[in-house]
């Protein structure tokens, strides 16, 4: 068995691929209004802890990873169909608007975040290790935003439709 096959098998053991396939084959997608807010709060607290206290950045990482673990479920159950899944014109419009909002948010947060980390590096005279650690945390934070913002936008931009 090749290494990629072994890695695929490991991923399947988590149950996530099977869940994603079930959702793709007609599973009910729902508006998730509060889970994205919780995930956003947790990852923001984690990022703030990493930046505010480099001596205890492990705690920030722990919180950030916890928030990221919540965020990972949002694209699976949220209202947005992933690219590759058959979507009608309204669903494509919702996805377009949601990812546009996500790109805009991530762009803004990237500029502000990198500027902040650069400034803190100069002011606090961070060592290279601290800087790299914070930047790695910031990448994870941006990745979490990529998972959270589309679901958050789509869930609040429309009201759910009741079943007939």
């Amino acid at each position: 068995m090749s290494l990629p096959e072994r890695l695929d098998n490991l991923a399947r053991l988590t149950g996530m691929p099977a869940l994603a396939e079930r959702m793709a084959s007609g599973g009910q997608r729902r508006h998730l209004r509060w889970f994205p807010i919780v995930a956003l709060l947790v990852v923001s607290i984690g990022m703030a802890l990493i930046v505010a206290s480099p001596q205890r950045s492990w705690l920030g990482y722990l919180v950030l990873i916890l928030g990221n673990a919540i965020a990972a479920w949002l694209p699976i159950f949220g209202p947005i169909k992933p690219w590759g899944e058959i979507a009608d014109e309204r669903e494509r419009q919702v996805r377009h608007d949601a990812y546009f909002a996500a790109f805009a948010t991530i762009s803004l947060v990237s500029v502000v975040g990198v500027s902040l980390i650069m400034s803190l590096t100069l002011i606090e005279r961070w060592e290279i290790g601290t800087l790299l650690f914070d930047l790695a945390g910031f990448i994870l934070f941006l990745f979490s935003l990529w998972e959270v913002i589309p679901t958050l936008h789509a869930s609040w931009a429309t009201r759910p439709i009741e079943d007939e």
């Binding site: 009608d88 014109e89 309204r90 419009q93 429309t158 009201r159 439709i161 009741e162 007939e164």
Partner: protein
């Protein structure tokens, strides 16, 4: 600009479910719900497909002005008679 429609009226009159209409015009049943509620404006293609399904002109289904209610239309007909 708001686009009003009376898909729900035509659907009720024909006894068509959201799912049946959705399958016929190639969209998700939820999209029919969003259209009926006025939360989504359809493309020209979808509007024409829905009109063709009910076999009516597109302006009988969609309008820039609110449609009069069935009760008002009936009252007007009674008065005319």
């Amino acid at each position: 600009m708001d686009i009003y429609n009376r898909i729900a009226v035509f659907r009720a009159e024909r006894g068509t479910s959201r799912r049946a209409l959705a399958d016929a015009v190639g969209v998700n049943p939820q999209t029919i719900g969003y259209l009926e509620r006025g939360d989504y404006n359809p493309s020209l293609e979808l509007a024409m497909r829905i009109a063709a399904y009910f076999d009516v002109a597109i302006e009988h289904l969609f309008s820039f002005q609110p449609f009069e209610s069935v009760a008002v239309a009936l009252r007007r007909t009674d008065t005319a008679e």
